[in-house]
Symmetry: C2
Subunit: 253 residues, 2 copies
């Protein structure tokens, strides 16, 4: 990058990026006050203007520290970026998240419907909790091949494997039709993503009722759009503007 000119001179943020960044990542409580404010400012400004569109001077100004203080903690600007997304990556592909998702997806006692609802709720909650980090990871993966690879190989493959396994299990039990697994995973995940991404990006009109929308989304994904051959549909009626007590505000943590 010509705009980031010293970038490739330092070997700091070069090869096996995440091993290094994860090692360098110390949790918030080990940080000094100023260090914490640098991270917060960077998180906020990167999410808004992007990595290449943000100068270290602005981060320092916004954090109320001297510019050199940033480089006391990070060898290069890019290391700061990586330190922001690395913990998110770790939580996404780490054993905790995978086990949590796999537990939901693999639980045979859950109806497919309930499983999908929980998955959407679970991921929506997680995404909104880490919204700025998610946004940065997403938008910067356009420009940084290492991030794109990590996102693709790490996160997508994880999601894919968990969902595919759950679908295969239920397909063998005859619960779902024998559709192409890859396509089914793609459609399912994109349906969930269409729920989460607009909220993550700050688009999205004021939503009336998340639970109702989740139920309707799952309903369509499971039963399709077509009129059943024998009046099969028994799910959410959903005549567009109905606001009756049909959502389910109970549900677990």
């Amino acid at each position: 990058m010509p705009v980031e000119r010293h970038e490739d001179r330092t070997p700091s943020a070069a090869q096996d990026v995440f091993a290094e960044a994860l090692a360098a990542y110390h949790p918030p409580q080990g940080m000094t006050e100023k260090h914490r404010r640098i991270v917060e400012a960077a998180l906020r400004i990167f999410a808004q203007k992007g990595y290449a569109g943000t100068s270290t001077a602005e981060i320092a100004r916004e954090a109320g520290v001297a510019e050199a203080t940033i480089f006391r903690h990070y060898k290069a600007k890019k290391d700061l970026l990586l330190s922001l997304v690395a913990p998110l990556m770790a939580r996404l592909v780490g054993p905790v998240a995978v086990r949590s998702a796999a537990e939901i997806a693999g639980d045979p006692s859950l109806s497919l419907e309930e499983m999908l609802r929980r998955l959407i709720r679970d991921r929506l909650h997680f995404a909104l909790e880490n919204a700025p980090r998610f946004r940065i990871l997403l938008q910067e993966s356009f420009f940084h091949p290492e991030l794109r690879d990590a996102l693709w190989r790490g996160i997508w493959q994880q999601i894919h494997d968990v969902v595919a396994a759950a679908l295969r299990q239920r397909m063998e039990r005859g619960e779902i039709r024998p559709v192409d697994l890859e396509v089914a995973v793609r459609v399912l995940v994109s349906g969930v993503a269409s729920f989460i991404l607009p909220r993550l990006m700050g688009l999205q009109a004021p939503v009336a009722d998340d639970e109702k929308e989740i139920a309707a989304t799952v309903d369509i994904l499971l039963k399709g759009l077509l009129q059943g051959p024998a009046g099969a549909a028994a799910g959410v009626p959903a005549d567009e503007t109905t606001g009756g007590p049909q959502g389910r505000p109970d549900t677990e943590a």
Copy 2:
């Protein structure tokens, strides 16, 4: 933006961006050789490194012109960016594209299945034809509110209206179940997007057969995943790795 420091001094790329950019857009045949090469270089490099990550010096070098030549044709760097995405926006929301999509979506003689297949083929073709412009519009809409608004208000609303109208029509005819229209549109469009976006981003493993995947996607969107209550499913069998002559390589232009 501190990185783009002169940006807000010039009133050139300020308010009603697209009116201006569209007016300034002259089709390729009216360009000089060097101007054309500037546009091509910018298209290529912006798509790869992003607007903020690309310097005018690099564009000039890559185009084989002097840096000042860029500013002979564009008042500011941002005007160059807008001139790249404006024609795409115009074609997306303009009467041609809307009529084409609306014709497909509104044609009552088409089966819902065939309509969706044509829509996917049509949009996939269009997206791949304009891949760099699409990519730039998508990635820069994270950072430029005017682009985000245009993409949201213009393109999404167009898509939404066309698809919603088609669905409502078929819902009134009893062809599809009475589901929530907004949710149905969202799931449908995201299913199509999940088909197009990975190809646009250069992700996506080498795909065996587009037609087969389109058919399988449409099948799932229409009939859902669940086993029908009376063995209803009659669509694509799709036992994961079957490669037999079941795709439909006929289909129109």
